[in-house]
């Protein structure tokens, strides 16, 4: 019963086209990924799979990114998972807010290209 942890990334995003794009990138790099459609599903998946790193969008239907982050950090089982906030709402005040909430990194989707994101996720896998 050695906890065989599969290193995987959880992406919490609700735009299907974006999901498709980033999934393609992860797949190409052979990074196991779980796509969660929306915040509610995302939190569930996080608790279930304990991913190595979470990539979190902000603007989502229902439970949005901010709420998700708060809940993740409030829950002892998920609070240690590094969270990369990945959004199109990349403004300084927003960044500051999310960093203060406990995000590990904050990136704009027009800044960080899909393959670069994949490489970053790989880093997180390698570090731990």
């Amino acid at each position: 019963m050695a906890e065989e942890e599969i290193k995987q990334v959880l992406m919490i995003e609700d735009d299907p086209d974006q999901m498709f794009l980033y999934k393609s990138a992860f797949d190409l790099q052979k990074i196991p990924s779980v796509m969660a459609n929306g915040g509610k599903v995302g939190i569930e998946q996080a608790k279930r799979w304990h991913p190595k790193v979470i990539v979190l969008d902000i603007v989502m239907e229902g439970v949005d990114g901010e709420e998700v982050l708060k809940r993740l950090k409030a829950d002892p089982t998920t609070k240690d998972i590094p969270v990369i906030v990945f959004t199109n709402l990349d403004k300084k005040p927003v960044k500051e807010k999310f960093m203060a909430l406990g995000a590990t990194e904050f990136w704009g989707k027009t800044e960080l290209m899909p393959m670069a994101l994949a490489a970053k996720v790989q880093d997180y896998f390698d570090r731990r």
Partner: protein, 720 residues
């Protein structure tokens, strides 16, 4: 000394005195010169008359007679000369010269017995001259000249008014008296037994001329005359007192040199000095009272008024004071103070004004009259005439300039005196002083008023400004608040806009980057195709978003309104059919029904077709977007006043809380965000602006969450 000797001496002194004074005071004035000549001639005659009277032998008497007659010969011609000069009569020069020659001839005869034949005792006189033959020629000529000269005076007296009239009156009176008196001498020359009792009346002319001088500015030497009067008066007092004391001491105190006299003399001396001072003042007052009443009073008046004037700053008070003072002191019938309006130009052209401005002296009507007639000032006659006429028309006797800082600020107009007397020099001096004081006071008052007004205005303006400052501050604060809101809204808008744009862009740039890396090429074909399709869709999306944003900003600046010439009648059936057709593909995609039933009546509306279509499109598009299943119905109806278009869906509805905000910019209901994160929130805002640009156009909705929404557009029909 006989009475006659005394009368001659008296005549001598008075004539000499008057002649001297007139000459000393006015040596350059031709009138004064001729008058003095006349007076000296009489003095000459009188002096030798005296000598003749006291002569103690017939030879010296005869001699003196001849000498005195030398004087007498020239009396008529000097008289005539004076009259001619005094009355300013022209063209007499030749006649005068001839007269002088004529009388000079008589002078020649005077040396001979043909003129004064001899002297003999007559009627108590030891040595009276008897007429020679030439004398008989001389005498009528003498009389003729005297009468002629007097006639000239009389003629002028009849023809003028006012000052000159009075002057002449007294001169004439005196001359007639004088000559009549003097003529009483001639009776005895012809053995007519009437003694020259009226010889002393020769001096009558002195008195009357003196009076005329004093009262009516004849030759204008009153001040000196007054001094003489006072001096003489005081001397008389001293003289009388001296002899009174002497008599007193001689008869009652045992002589002027007795010890009693010396003692009493001390007291008398003291008394005398005191009394003499009193009496001198009394004499002065007398002099002032009868001839210079005005002077004494005027000094007081001027002092009093000057003091008062400096206290007043009120223009009307100043005017009242000045008018009252002038009326009281001079007894004029009318006082009018005219101030120039600082801006008035017409005043400057006024002839009188110009005249006053140049001369800055009072303009006296009578003086003007004299000036008009004065030969020597012929070239200015026109000016004088014109001014004279103007003054006369004003009904004024005097026009006084009011000068302050060398600037003419007004005119004081005086009517004639109540008693009809002319204005004396003192009068004029008083008036000049008063008018200048008044001018200064008025100038100051106006300045003061200006300052007061200015202060008032300033205060008012400050109040206004302060008030409006307060108001403005409030307005500014409100504006600042509003701006803050706007800025907040704008930054929100920008945030949303940038997010909206970045979303599709991130997909495009992300995908392209993978293409560049060569990653996409390694993916399965379906994946590749999908990615390519994504890029395409996203780029379209960007266009749409940009269009939305631009349109929203179009509605942003002012209240949106249609361009006049783009308004045309719109076929609504056709338009709505087109809109529905445009949205068909979307509806099919979502498996929704989209229905429009054209209205048989096909009502038309005047509108801008492009914008109207846009509005309809937005509504239908919205309805489709926010409906998961069911249908969207479009209807077209009308009533007599308006067109009614409805878009009804079976969608998610709008939550009650959000309904209020729906038409706001970027406002999106929570559940709409859930459904369609890409919505810009501008659609309804734009639609509302378009509909409301129609006169009386409205848009409203009825909605229930979960049940659906119905939008209603109402546009009143208008005549184009």
């Amino acid at each position: 000394m006989t009475f006659y000797a005394f009368s001659a001496l008296f005549n001598f002194f008075t004539s000499l005195g008057l002649g001297l004074f007139v000459l000393v005071k006015n040596k350059n004035n031709k009138t004064s010169q001729t008058f003095s000549a006349f007076a000296f001639t009489i003095a000459f005659w009188s002096f030798f008359y005296y000598l003749w009277q006291i002569a103690d032998n017939s030879d010296s008497a005869l001699f003196w007679c001849r000498v005195l007659m030398a004087g007498a010969i020239f009396i008529p011609v000097t008289y005539l000369h004076f009259v001619v000069r005094f009355l300013n009569i022209q063209k007499q020069k030749i006649f005068l010269i001839l007269s002088y020659i004529l009388f000079s001839l008589f002078l020649l005869f005077d040396i001979t017995p043909l003129f004064v034949s001899h002297v003999e005792p007559l009627l108590g006189f030891a040595f009276w001259p008897i007429a020679g033959p030439i004398f008989s020629i001389f005498l009528p000529i003498w009389l003729a000249y005297v009468v002629y000269s007097s006639y000239l005076l009389y003629q002028r007296y009849r023809s003028v008014e006012g000052l000159q009239r009075l002057q002449i009156r007294y001169v004439l009176l005196g001359m007639i008296l004088g000559f009549a008196g003097g003529s009483t001498n001639y009776f005895l020359w012809y053995y007519i037994p009437i003694p020259p009792i009226f010889n002393i009346f020769t001096s009558a002319y002195v008195a009357t001329v003196a009076y005329s001088i004093i009262r009516y500015r004849l030759m204008d030497i009153r001040i000196v005359a007054r001094k003489i009067f006072i001096f003489v008066g005081a001397s008389v007092v001293a003289y009388l007192t001296y002899y009174a004391i002497l008599w007193f001491e001689n008869n009652l105190l045992g002589g002027a040199y007795s010890s009693k006299s010396f003692l009493i003399g001390v007291v008398i001396a003291g008394l005398f000095v005191t009394l003499f001072q009193y009496s001198s003042r009394w004499i002065e007052k007398l002099a002032n009272k009868y001839f210079f009443f005005s002077l004494y009073n005027y000094q007081e008046t001027i002092n009093r008024v000057s003091g008062q004037l400096t206290h007043y700053t009120d223009l009307s008070k100043i005017n009242d004071l000045v008018s009252a003072t002038i009326k009281e002191s001079l007894g004029v019938t009318r006082v009018e103070i005219n101030l120039f309006d600082k801006n008035s130009r017409s005043a400057k052209k006024d002839l009188l004004v110009k005249y006053l401005q140049t001369n800055q002296r009072p303009v006296v009507l009578e003086e003007l009259n004299i000036l008009v007639n004065d030969e020597r000032l012929k070239d200015q006659r026109e000016t004088f005439s014109a001014v004279y006429e103007q003054v006369k028309n004003l009904g004024a006797s005097i026009c006084l300039p009011m000068v302050s800082n060398e600037r003419l600020i007004g005119i004081i107009i005086l009517g004639p005196k109540v008693i009809g007397d002319p204005f004396t020099v003192e009068d004029l001096e008083l008036l000049m002083t008063l008018s200048n004081q008044a001018a200064i006071a008025i100038d100051n008052a106006e300045l003061y008023k200006e300052v007061k007004d200015f202060n008032k205005t300033l205060k008012q303006k400050v109040n206004e400004q302060t008030m409006s400052l307060q108001d403005k501050t409030k307005v500014l604060e409100e504006q600042a608040e509003h701006l803050k809101k706007l800025l907040a809204m704008r930054s929100e808008f920008l945030d949303i806009a940038s997010h909206q744009l970045k979303t599709p862009i991130s997909v495009i740039s992300g995908t392209i980057s993978m293409f560049k890396e060569g990653s996409v090429q390694k993916m399965p074909v379906e994946t590749q195709n999908k990615l390519i399709d994504n890029i395409y869709q996203k780029s379209l999306k960007i266009s749409q978003i940009i269009r939305d944003i631009l349109q929203a900003s179009e509605f942003d600046t002012e209240k949106f309104s249609f361009v006049e010439k783009r308004i045309v009648p719109v076929d609504l059936n056709k338009m709505l059919t087109d809109v529905v057709a445009d949205n068909k593909a979307f509806a099919d995609e979502k498996k929704l029904q989209l229905i429009f039933t054209p209205n048989p009546a096909n009502p038309q509306i005047n509108s801008d077709p492009d914008y109207l279509e846009q509005a309809f499109f937005n509504l239908v598009d919205n309805a489709l977007k926010y409906t998961k299943e069911g249908k969207v119905e479009v209807s077209l109806d009308e009533n007599p006043q308006s067109i009614i278009i409805k878009v009804k869906d079976t969608g998610v509805g709008i939550p009650k809380d959000d309904q209020v905000r729906m038409f706001g910019k970027f406002e999106r209901a929570k559940n709409a965000v859930d459904m369609y994160t890409d919505g810009s929130g501008l659609g309804l805002f734009i639609t509302k602006e378009i509909i409301e640009a129609h006169p009386g156009g409205t848009i409203a909705f009825a909605s229930e969450e979960g049940k659906g929404t119905e939008f209603t557009i109402t546009i009143p029909k208008t005549k184009k």
